[in-house]
Symmetry: C2
């Protein structure tokens, strides 16, 4: 995690905790307008039997609870993997100001791949997007997770 | 609601209840493989301060809780409005077999408008989609809601 500081380090720690739980290792952190950590979460799909329990959605919901409003004006989201279309649209609904993501996701991403949610006519709020922040450790963790689960690995 | 039967009538009732709570009037129902109603919900964004609390997401999560799995294989979702990109992707993640929706949503929809989530390379499960089921009462409810909130209406 050389060179990485601040919220993305916390997001990676959430991804590692998700890995240890047997979840796809993705972690997310929401930072408030003054730099306060409002929420942090890792994937919880299997543990909670919730198909929507991606790290980003859990962190957005927890941050909204913390602030008492569904509109996270001036907040930033840090996530270890490019958000999927579901999470990208949730980021837009939540009015997130800045999105920082780690590894890119050509197969399932919805920000710089696939439907490119923030460029769509259906998107009415666009965060500033900074990709490939801390990409190497985030990608390594994901590769290790899926390698361990490859059929034939026993 | 002439001609409408079954789950879409329940979804419309959820939309009307959302209207009465001051939420954008959208309702959703998840039906199991044998026709059982697994979950029903209306929008709860303002009431719960949750930017992701669309009717579809709430119904999908409740149905997954009811079945104890994030994968709603063989289930159908009925919703009064064309799902947004967030909900469309959640429907794909949840492995919903059939989607029935009411009014179309050219500005915010993500199924037959905007990013057309199910046609994207990032979508790995595509439900059968049946649009404009009970569209008239669903659209009338939405039009009434937004008319009441138009600036200058006092």
């Amino acid at each position: 995690m050389r060179g990485l500081t601040g919220p993305m380090v916390l997001a990676l720690a959430e991804a590692e905790a998700a890995f240890a739980r047997g979840e796809v290792p993705v972690g997310a952190v929401v930072v408030g307008p003054t730099g306060t950590i409002l929420a942090r979460a890792g994937n919880q799909i299997e543990a909670t039997a919730d198909p929507t329990a991606h790290a980003e959605l859990l962190a957005l919901r927890a941050a909204a609870q913390a602030l008492g409003t569904p509109r996270l004006v001036g907040c930033a989201l840090y996530v270890t993997l490019e958000p999927c279309p579901m999470c990208a649209q949730a980021i837009a609904f939540a009015r997130i100001a800045r999105l920082y993501y780690g590894a890119e996701d050509p197969k399932g991403g919805g920000v710089d791949h696939g439907p490119r949610i923030f460029q769509s006519t259906s998107c009415h709020h666009r965060p500033d997007v900074y990709g490939l922040i801390g990409a190497a450790p985030a990608a390594e963790l994901l590769q290790r997770f899926f390698r361990d689960r490859r059929p034939g690995k026993g």
